[in-house]
């Protein structure tokens, strides 16, 4: 596969390490009420769609960016690639 890196352009997916569902960005707060349930759902449950999937890839043999790749899990077509840091900020994550 080829991932079109937002900064570096097309790169062979072999340079990347895959993590999985981009929802993993949304880590709950361990100090909140009901954190146990929230962490269980966050860590262990997945939508696992057959179709469009937003997922995390790490450019380990590259610039060490974490990327959010929007890819179809049936056709493997990639329609969007973003820097995970930008996605995280857009989701309101900060410090």
């Amino acid at each position: 596969m080829i991932i079109n890196h937002p900064l570096l352009g097309p790169r062979d997916a072999q340079e990347f390490v895959y993590l999985g569902d981009a929802r993993l960005i949304g880590r709950p707060d361990g100090m909140d009420e009901g954190a146990a349930q929230a962490f269980h759902d966050h860590v262990f449950l997945r939508d696992n769609p057959a179709g469009e999937h937003r997922e995390l890839w790490f450019h380990e043999q590259g610039d060490r960016s974490w990327l959010v790749v929007t890819r179809n899990t049936v056709t493997h077509e990639i329609t969007k690639v973003e820097l995970a840091r930008d996605v995280a900020r857009a989701l309101g994550r900060s410090k």
């Binding site: 596969m1 997916a13 895959y18 759902d41 262990f44 997945r46 899990t73």
Partner: protein
């Protein structure tokens, strides 16, 4: 019709006119006591044991494509019970015992062949882990041996002992491990179930579930609504898609695992072998093809096909271990969609919906688990209690901190 050598001879002499279809092709009835979703190995085994061992009737198996078209028809045919953890080993050993009597039980030759499996190790730490595992196996009533380097050399002199990046230090062996003819396993269960009145309904895809007041009433299919008292889902690879009909999110990701076969070769490798320092395992089929594989591609996929890097990675492992295969040719690659669970172990459990039961999350373990999976799922469906060897395969183990993590990789499915 009962199969036997005599029968084969009689038919041979009379132009094979007497053979009848291995299973009927029934139209779905309006309702059943049990509907098993998924006509793969696990679904067919479940129906077979429900009918045979638990004396249940009015059973249907719904298959969206053709029987045995899922992972039971696209795996590398290995059977073994060389697991480490308490939650797993009794189950896989139960499965091994079922393999050992299976063919006579369902009167179909699935070529269950216990030619032995060895897991090579290459470091002292790996040897310690193999010792721990081997002892766990024996404690659970399975067989295990530990071989030193020279014993391995005696068995497979052509392995790379003298020029290796990661020298072979020995191997954990299970002599009762081996292979089985994967398609025949599905067909044997299908035939056995059909003979016991189970309706095997092909080209019938489940498109929805009718659930009222927390209870399942049946399934919507491409061949109309089919009512059921109990619905058991065994569709590894598509688990998330099907269970979404019941509003469930699962601790499962779908990943593609590639498998490979070489051109037919005169006998080289008698048993099954796994390389401990790379992603490569291999056996040789009765037709002479080297059947081998490695790691999953590593990204979520429902595509039943993989990519080049994993093919190369597997070949590199093969050439590191046995550089004689350089001149053997890769004949065919294919891909199966795995249910990769959060701890690498399966789930056989009830759901929050009354009457809806789930069987999935088999990762690589699905084929060898087929008999026990069917038996345990049938047990759960028939009695509403888990079978004694499958008590750990629960949904709530993640909530309760009771993961069954053989590889110690944690909730990163592509590492299991």
């Amino acid at each position: 019709m009962r199969y036997s050598g005599l029968r084969v001879i009689r038919e041979a002499l009379t132009g094979h006119r007497g053979w009848t279809p291995v299973w009927r092709d029934p139209a779905p009835q309006a309702s059943y006591d049990y509907v098993i979703v998924g006509g793969g190995g696990h679904g067919l085994a479940t129906a077979y044991y429900l009918a045979k061992e638990f004396r249940q009737a009015r059973i249907a198996v719904l298959e969206k494509g053709y029987l045995g078209g899922g992972n039971v028809g696209r795996n590398t045919t290995i059977i073994r019970s060389n697991y480490l953890l308490d939650g797993n080993e009794p189950f896989y050993e139960f499965s091994m015992k079922l393999w050992e009597g299976m063919e006579q039980d369902f009167n179909y030759n699935a070529m269950v062949s216990q030619r032995g499996i060895i897991n090579l190790f290459h470091t002292d730490a790996a040897r310690d882990a193999a010792t721990r595992r081997g002892n766990a196996m024996i404690l659970h009533g399975a067989d295990a041996d530990i071989l030193d380097r020279e014993q391995v050399r005696a068995m497979y002199p052509f392995l790379n002992f003298d020029n290796a990046r990661f020298p072979i230090k020995g191997a954990l062996m299970q002599r009762r491990g081996g292979t089985a003819r994967h398609d025949a396993v599905a067909w044997g269960y299908a035939r056995g179930a059909d003979l016991r009145g189970v309706d095997l309904i092909q080209n019938c895809e489940v498109t929805g579930m009718r659930i009222e007041a927390g209870r399942i009433l049946g399934v919507e299919t491409t061949r109309g609504f089919i009512g059921a008292k109990k619905v058991g889902v065994a569709v590894a690879g598509s688990s998330s898609r099907v269970m979404a009909h019941a509003g469930m999110r699962l601790p499962i990701e779908s990943h593609v695992l590639q498998a490979f076969v070489s051109e037919g070769l005169k006998p080289l490798i008698d048993g099954v072998m796994t390389f401990g320092a790379g992603h490569f395992y291999v056996s040789q089929s009765d037709k002479g093809g080297l059947v081998f594989g490695g790691d999953i591609d590593g990204y979520n996929s429902y595509a039943q096909r993989g990519n080049l890097p994993v093919i190369e990675d597997v070949a590199e492992g093969g050439m590191a271990l046995m550089p004689m295969i350089g001149r053997a040719r890769l004949l065919r690659t294919w891909g199966g969609v795995m249910d990769m669970s959060m701890d690498g172990s399966p789930i056989i459990d009830k759901t929050h919906v009354e009457g809806l039961y789930f069987n999935g999350g088999w990762c690589y373990g699905g084929f060898k688990a087929t008999p026990a999976s069917g038996w345990c799922f049938a047990h759960l469906l028939a009695t509403d209690r888990p079978h004694e060897t499958g008590t750990a395969f629960r949904f709530d183990r993640f909530m309760r901190g009771l993961a069954i993590d053989e590889k110690g990789q944690g909730p990163t499915p592509n590492l299991h």
